[in-house]
């Protein structure tokens, strides 16, 4: 032992010493690492051993009577008939009550923003009750009375331009009520393609409700208790994630040879058939429909396309778009569909601008690109918006000027004023775009004001390009800002995401004298931006005048500029001339040259031209609010038009009441807000934020690292001292 110690103190050879020192160090390092690991593992184990019976699970806030917890998935059946550019959509929804008490169900129905809702059917077993149109207040009273009396009843109201609510009262326990709503809309035509958007879900809205006379007045105040507010339904949508499913079946009679037919959003199978007579579901046997066709022309044997969803049921988390593309050159430059009801003829005139291949861009642009970075854009939407923004930047040339504005709760600009498009500025803008993060609310008003107020340089074409999902509520106020501040500028809107508020986008573009483009997925960005910028660069048709019969009532009143690839759609009504079909001429300027086109009216295959006309008239009347038309006058004119044409409007509602009561008056009635499926790709339903900082972890790891450092520091010199005793 003594010998061993002597060797240790005096005789340890250098190599053994080094070896030993090395091993001591290894042991210390491994030890410290194990310590860190053990500490972490203990914490992880603690986090994981949480017992699940403490209340884990889905949190649902219930009303006192517990009416919220049984929001049953809704099954929806959509049948679409298209003839030319007119489409009639029938939405049948089965409201099932899985509970044990009587239930009132409320569902927000997203519809296209130009939808003309003119029919409500309530089906109970074999019986069908047809909905009647009434002034809104009266309809609500009828519904409330029926509800109180225990009768099954249904009410369809327009809560904002593209949102309708369906309320169904007194669904008996274990039973269901089928509600069918029908509406008309026109197909969009853009860059050689017709398309029809079938909304399935909605984007939650941000912001204060419109002015009392605008939106708040639309929500019922006359019922014993308000049925539902838009906020609460939005909130319901945000809270639960119901698996609503739909089947979609469409019959398309395009009236012209097609190159392709297809659907976007959900996969649909297309089968082609020969028209055997009229297999179109003549959905609405409108009163006096024998006369509705005016002169009946035998329709030529046309091709029919039948589209069905590939899956038997598709989730209602994204809109479906049915699109068809006519063969080049066969799409008529001008088409006029007519319908005569009583002593009035209604016409829908569609003008496709002439080909603009020879036109070239001359004027340099000053482009203000505005991007929405609010919380509702989080997820796939902001990725799309950034891609679109970069695409737009890439299309500018050195002759142009530009600026980038982002807005959420606040608005901030990249440059204080628009700058020339130089490589440095371009690079700076790209970096800026890369750094954008979606967060906070949507204060779009300030952004629009800021964009409109950007100092303008003379000699430039001022274009504002807005990229947003349009999740806003105070639309009227925003339109006012645009209408008043626009000047010579043009405002273009780009809708982002799976369910943008396309009403707002389209209207904003209308007041901004620009166009609206919708980008549904990141894959579409380049193509859609190409199409938009092709438009931005030229007006295809301007100063349009149409030669109508006398005493015509025209919507829109003022015919807007027509951009390349987009049609001009005008609806008109005039005293019927049964012996003489419509023959009209449109004049205008195309690429600076006079342009003229004559068209003969053809009776429409689907009834509803009058309904579309009335819908546009109502829209025009409501738009006139921005110009300061008194609310009372608007209301009166809208009610008159809507009642005459059986249309749901902000001031009229459809109501259906079953005569026989089912619920004993004493039995309670629960309310059931049926939440919409949240749009795909959005994050707004992910409600719980992350609420831990890594601070404790950092402190522990930091302390352990310092421990390790001291171990190394102490371990080394200790050995060296041993090795060289003095």
């Amino acid at each position: 032992m003594r010998k061993w110690k002597a060797w240790w103190q005096h005789g340890m050879p250098q190599s053994v010493c080094d070896e030993l020192e090395h091993w001591v160090r290894v042991v210390l390092t491994v030890g410290a690492a194990l310590l860190v690991f053990a500490a972490l593992k203990a914490q992880l184990a603690r986090a994981a051993e949480f017992p699940t019976d403490v209340g884990a699970g889905t949190l649902l806030f219930q009303t006192a009577d517990g009416g919220f917890d049984n929001a049953a998935p809704l099954s929806t059946d959509m049948r679409i008939s298209v003839a030319g550019v007119v489409a009639r959509v029938r939405v049948a929804q089965r409201f099932r009550n899985p509970g044990t008490s009587f239930v009132e169900a409320v569902y927000v129905l997203p519809l296209p923003d130009d939808a003309a809702v003119d029919r409500l059917l309530m089906q109970i077993g074999e019986r069908v009750v047809e909905g009647e149109i009434h002034e809104r207040v009266q309809a609500e009273r009828i519904y409330a009375t029926a509800r109180a009396a225990g009768q099954r009843a249904s009410l369809v109201r327009q809560t904002s331009a593209n949102l309708f609510t369906t309320a169904v009262a007194n669904i008996p326990p274990g039973e269901s009520i089928d509600i069918t709503i029908e509406y008309l809309q026109t197909a969009r035509y853009d860059a050689g393609e017709f398309s029809l958007r079938i909304p399935m879900t909605l984007t939650p809205r941000y912001g204060t409700p419109d002015t009392p006379e605008a939106l708040a007045a639309l929500l019922s105040a006359d019922l014993p208790e308000p049925i539902v507010t838009i906020d609460s339904v939005m909130a319901a949508a945000a809270s639960s994630t119901p698996k609503h499913e739909a089947t979609v079946h469409a019959v398309l009679a395009p009236g012209m040879p097609l190159v392709s037919v297809g659907a976007r959003g959900h996969d649909m199978r297309v089968t082609r058939e020969r028209d055997q007579g009229s297999s179109l579901e003549s959905a609405k046997p409108s009163p006096g429909s024998a006369a509705a066709y005016g002169v009946r022309v035998a329709p030529p044997p046309a091709e029919l396309y039948v589209l069905d969803t590939v899956l038997p049921r598709v989730p209602m988390d994204r809109d479906v778009v049915i699109a068809w593309r006519p063969q080049v050159g066969v799409a008529p430059a001008v088409a006029a569909l007519t319908e005569t009801r009583g002593d009035t003829t209604y016409a829908l005139l569609m003008i496709l601008p002439p080909s603009s291949a020879h036109m070239s861009r001359s004027q340099p642009r000053e482009q203000i690109l505005v991007i929405d970075t609010s919380g509702s854009m989080a997820g796939e939407s902001i990725v799309q918006a950034k891609a679109a923004l970069k695409d737009a930047l890439g299309r500018l040339t050195s002759a142009d000027r530009f600026n980038v504005i982002q807005f959420n709760s606040y608005t901030s600009t990249l440059f204080p004023a628009p700058v020339p498009f130089t490589p440095q500025n371009y690079a700076q803008a790209l970096r800026y775009v890369d750094g954008l993060v979606a967060d906070n609310g949507t204060e779009i008003g300030t952004a629009i004001r800021t964009a409109l107020a950007q100092p303008a340089a003379t000699g430039y074409l001022r274009q504002l390009v807005f990229m947003t999902d349009g999740a806003v509520s105070s639309e009227t106020a925003l339109f006012q800002i645009i209408a008043q501040g626009l000047g010579d500028a043009r405002l273009f809107t780009i809708g982002i995401g799976s369910a943008p508020n396309s009403y707002f986008m389209r209207k904003a573009a209308q007041f901004g004298r620009g166009t609206y483009t919708h980008i549904g997925s990141t894959g579409e960005v380049a193509e859609k931006m190409q199409a938009l910028f092709a438009k931005l660069e030229r007006v295809a048709l301007s100063d349009v005048l149409i030669d109508w019969p006398d005493a015509v009532e025209l919507y829109p009143h003022e015919i807007p500029d027509v951009y390349a690839g987009e049609p001009l759609v005008v609806t008109a009504s005039y005293p019927a001339t049964p012996d003489r079909p419509l023959l009209t001429t449109a004049f205008g300027r195309a690429a600076g040259l006079p342009w003229k086109q004559t068209v003969a009216g053809v009776p429409s295959e689907l009834p509803g031209i009058s309904t579309l006309w009335a819908r546009r008239k109502i829209e025009h009347l409501i738009d006139s609010r921005v110009a300061g038309t008194p609310e009372d006058l608007i209301r009166k004119l809208v009610v008159d038009t809507a009642l005459e044409h059986h249309l749901v409007s902000p001031y009229t509602s459809l109501v259906a009441v079953d005569k026989t009561p089912v619920r004993p008056v004493a039995a309670p009635l629960d309310r059931n807000d049926v939440a919409n499926a949240p749009p795909a790709g959005s994050q707004w339903q992910a409600a719980l934020p992350r609420t831990a900082t890594p601070a404790p972890l950092l402190r522990i790891v930091g302390a352990l690292v310092l421990l390790l450092a001291s171990a190394v520091a102490l371990g080394g010199p200790g050995l060296s001292a041993l090795r060289r005793p003095s």
Partner: protein
Amino acid sequence: MKRPLRGDMPLAITLPLHYDLAIRTRQRRWRRIAIGILVLLGATLLLAGFWMPAKAELAQHLLDRAWSDTAASGGGAAARPWPWADTWPVARLTLPGARKPLNVLAGASGRNLAFAPALMDGSAAPGAHGVTVIAGHRDTHFRALAELAVGDVFALERPDGAVYQYAVTGLDVVDSERTEIRLDADESIVVLVTCWPFEAVTVGGKWRYLVTAHLVSTAGPAPARTTSF
């Protein structure tokens, strides 16, 4: 003292003395660098670990000023706590036993939560019908939630001076991946959200601790608005 030379260690004999020294000097230098790096790393981590709670504390002081400015305008003009801020205090939360109230910011983003508890976008305003969701970090502002019990009363004050007292009615631990808070209600409900378990060290866990409370009394000038922030 000179090291004895040994026959079985030829290396030590044949190599010059300064070679041995050079190796040791180099080893010492490497060790010093390693120690330096470790100390720096450890210190940085520690500093960051202490900076976060310090920032959370400091921000509350800046927010106090913004709050009094906002309150001075009757709640009409939202004052920003620092010039570049894109958020502002929307409420003040006084938990039982707290020395001073916590300022609550608008928008429960990760960045806002570093400064203060935050009101979730889209949730109801304090006192209004609906569910007011306020989130906070478990290791800073909302550490005190662990001590709350059913029946405890806390206060929420709005910039317009209205003060609402809420009584705790429920304490739940939920899986955030499977839970979403329903935001509508026929009464005024507050849900305080923080991470769970409180002592956990790891970040990004899925459990959340929810304190649900119902309005019990109202004081102050303004009636409740129903709009959300």
